[in-house]
Symmetry: C2
Subunit: 132 residues, 2 copies
DNA sequence: CTGAATCCCTGCCGATACTG
DNA sequence: CAGTATCGGCAGGGATTCAG
């Protein structure tokens, strides 16, 4: 039983949602992009793919990321079922963030995004411009 | 010569760009997300994955998409090397849009995004809510 | 038919300050 | 240590209008 909704190599799935004519949250692609949406999101996920982290560890790993955006992202990823919050009793408060199984499955997704972006970088402006 | 930058199954590539601490345009993931960035973008790509289209055909396929955003998206996808513009002489002006080879390689990327979003839809609000 | 230009409104995100 | 509250600047995108 193919409860996997995919299988077409050149086209897109035969799911009705593959034929929507407007950006709807029902579309699986939109769901994924919504989970990864916003600045810093993929970097937070990357950090957590390497292992669970405390809030302060995330801040240390991404120094330019502000508190507000970090907690925004963690909340967003929590809503998306990507990140789990593990609070421990006692003082000072210690909280660990970890990917859920669903969150770990973002690994291949980020890999696909990486692969495409790493492949054949465009000569953006000029000819033979050694862009860096 | 492994000019493919990937290979780690559970982690991310050993490319230095995998260790950036801030959202930089150099990161391949950011490159891909930038190409797909913005509302309607993935739907435009989906239409073109099905075959080349005229401007008016894209408008017809995505009726709620405004001219401004459509031409924005086509320009953005052109910059990203995803879409090619094929203008033909004569009157009335006829232009066809088609994916480049690079653009066609977005198929697997969208597939990965679809797969993740289609997998284990979250019981967002209530228990056993048969969302459909 | 194929777009580009303008206007305006909304939502994001960064900085700062404050709380449990 | 682990966040929330508030404000302001800026870019995204929708409707409309104009041009090639």
């Amino acid at each position: 039983m193919t409860h996997r909704t995919v299988g077409h190599p050149a086209g897109l799935p035969d799911d009705p949602r593959a034929n929507v004519t407007a950006p709807t949250p029902d579309c699986p692609v939109e769901i994924t992009l919504a989970a990864l949406h916003g600045r810093w999101t993929t970097l937070v996920v990357r950090e957590l793919l390497r292992g669970d982290r405390a809030y302060s560890e995330l801040r240390a790993a991404l120094p330019a990321l502000s508190d507000k955006v970090l907690s925004d992202r963690l909340a967003q990823l929590g809503e998306a079922g990507v990140v789990e919050r593990d609070r421990r009793p006692g003082w000072p408060p210690r909280v660990r963030y970890a990917l859920t199984p669903r969150g770990r499955r973002l690994g291949p997704v980020l890999q696909a995004l990486w692969d495409w972006g790493a492949d054949t970088p465009p000569a953006t402006t000029g000819p033979g411009a050694a862009v860096r």
